[in-house]
Symmetry: C2
Subunit: 209 residues, 2 copies
DNA sequence: ACTCGATTTCAACGGCCGTTGAATATTAGT
DNA sequence: ACTAATATTCAACGGCCGTTGAAATCGAGT
C-alpha cells in the first residue's frame, strides 16, 4: 500500500472518531507511521486531506448505488419498482460494503454521519458529494409514487437520510438504550427493518393528499 | 443576565457551529465579553463547561416532553393514545420551544444533532441526558402497539431519533437538495409531515409479525 | 468605615498546532 | 554510472491551546 493511502486510512479513522477539528495532522501522520511534513507533500493542506478522504469512497459508493438502482429498474421493464426496492438499492450497498471490507467502510460511514449533521459542513459537503445520485433516486421514487408531491418526496428523503446516517454511525446509543437487546452492529436486524420502516413513511406522506 | 449565563450562551452557540474541538475557550470568552480565566472560575474545565451547556436545556426539555406525554395520556383514560399522538408529544415540544425562543433553542438542537451522531460522545451523552425520558416514551408506544416486539420498538425509535435530530439540526441540506422547494427552517412543513412519516414506520414494523 | 467573600483582571506556563524550506534518500530512465 | 524526478527526513517558524496563581476590584453585612 502506498504512503498516500496509509495517510488517507489513518486520517479517515481518526476524523471519524473525533471530527475534523479534533484530530491534528501530527496524530494522523503518527498513526500512518510517516513524518509530519509528508502530509504536505501528498496533500495541499489539512483541509485538502480531509476532502480527499471524503472523495475517495464517495465515488465508489455512488457507483455501486447507481448500479443497484439500475438493476432494480431493469427488473421492471414495464411497471415502476416498489418503494421498498428503490430504498433497498440505496441502503443495501452499505451493508454489502460493510460485509466485504468491514473496518474500512465503518469509519467512513461514521464520518459521513457527522458531516451530515454538522451545520458547518453538512449543507455543502453532502450536496457536493452525493446530490447527483440522490436526485437520481428521488426521480425513481417519484415514478413509484406518482401522487406524491415533490415537497413530500424531499422531506421523506430527508427523514430517510437522518435515520440512515445515524444507524450506520454505530454510536452504540441503541445498545445502551435497549440494555443490550439491540446492537448497533447487528446489520441483519437493520436490513430487515430499515427499508420497511422508511418505505411506510414515504407511502404515508404520499397518501395524505 | 449573569456572567455565567453569558458564557453558557456563547459556548452553546459556538459548540453548535463548530463542535467541541473546533472551538477554543478563548473564542468562547471573547464572544461572551469576558476574560479567559473567568471560564475557569465559573467552570472546572472546558469539558465541564460543555457538560453544563448540555445539561442546562436537557432538563427543561425533558420536563416539557414529559408533561406533553402525560397530557396525551390524560386524554385517554381508558384506551391507549395513538402512535401519532405519542410521537407528537415527543416532537411538538421542540417546535414550541423554537417558536418561543428561537435563537436559543436552535443552537442547542444543532448541538444535540452532532452529539447524537458522534461515536465519541453519542453513545454515552445521549444516554446520560435523555434515556429515562426516552424509556418512558417507549413504554407508552408499547401500549399503543401491543403486538410490536421490543426489538422493533427500539429500532423504530432509533430511526425516529436520526430523522428528528437531523431535521432540527437545520443544516441547509434539504434546501440545497430541493433547490429551494423545501426549507430547513420551515417548521410548519416539518410539523405536518414528521409525525405521520414516523408513525407509519412504527406501524409497518409492528405489522410484520 | 471595614471586612470578607465573591467576582474579575492580568500575566504567564509549557505544549501542541498547521505549515514550510532545505537537505537527504530513493527510484527509474539512459 | 549519471541524471532527474519522486519521495522522505529534519529542524524550525509564529501562533494559539488549556490552564493556573496572584493581584485587584466589587458588593453585602456589620
Amino acid at each position: 500500500m502506498t504512503t498516500r493511502d496509509r495517510i488517507l486510512d489513518a486520517a479517515e479513522t481518526l476524523f471519524a472518531q473525533d471530527g475534523y477539528a479534533g484530530v491534528s495532522v501530527r496524530q494522523i501522520m503518527s498513526q500512518a507511521g510517516a513524518d509530519v511534513s509528508l502530509a504536505y507533500y501528498h496533500f495541499k493542506s489539512k483541509r485538502d486531506l480531509f476532502d480527499q478522504v471524503m472523495l475517495r469512497r464517495a465515488e465508489h459508493l455512488n457507483d455501486i448505488r447507481l448500479k443497484a438502482l439500475e438493476a432494480v429498474e431493469k427488473r421492471h421493464p414495464d411497471d415502476a419498482p416498489t418503494v421498498e426496492e428503490i430504498i433497498g438499492a440505496f441502503t443495501n450497498p452499505l451493508l454489502d460494503l460493510l460485509a466485504a471490507d468491514h473496518e474500512e467502510w465503518k469509519h467512513y460511514f461514521r464520518l459521513v454521519a457527522q458531516i451530515n449533521n454538522s451545520p458547518e459542513w453538512g449543507g455543502e459537503l453532502m450536496t457536493r458529494y452525493f446530490d447527483p445520485l440522490v436526485r437520481r433516486f428521488i426521480g425513481a421514487l417519484r415514478k413509484a409514487l406518482p401522487d406524491c408531491s415533490d415537497e413530500d418526496l424531499y422531506w421523506s428523503y430527508h427523514f430517510l437520510s437522518g435515520a440512515l446516517t445515524l444507524t450506520f454511525a454505530e454510536t452504540g446509543r441503541i445498545d445502551n438504550l435497549s440494555s443490550g437487546v439491540c446492537r448497533s452492529s447487528d446489520m441483519a436486524s437493520i436490513n430487515e427493518r430499515m427499508p420497511t420502516f422508511l418505505a411506510a413513511g414515504f407511502r404515508a406522506l404520499a397518501a395524505r393528499e
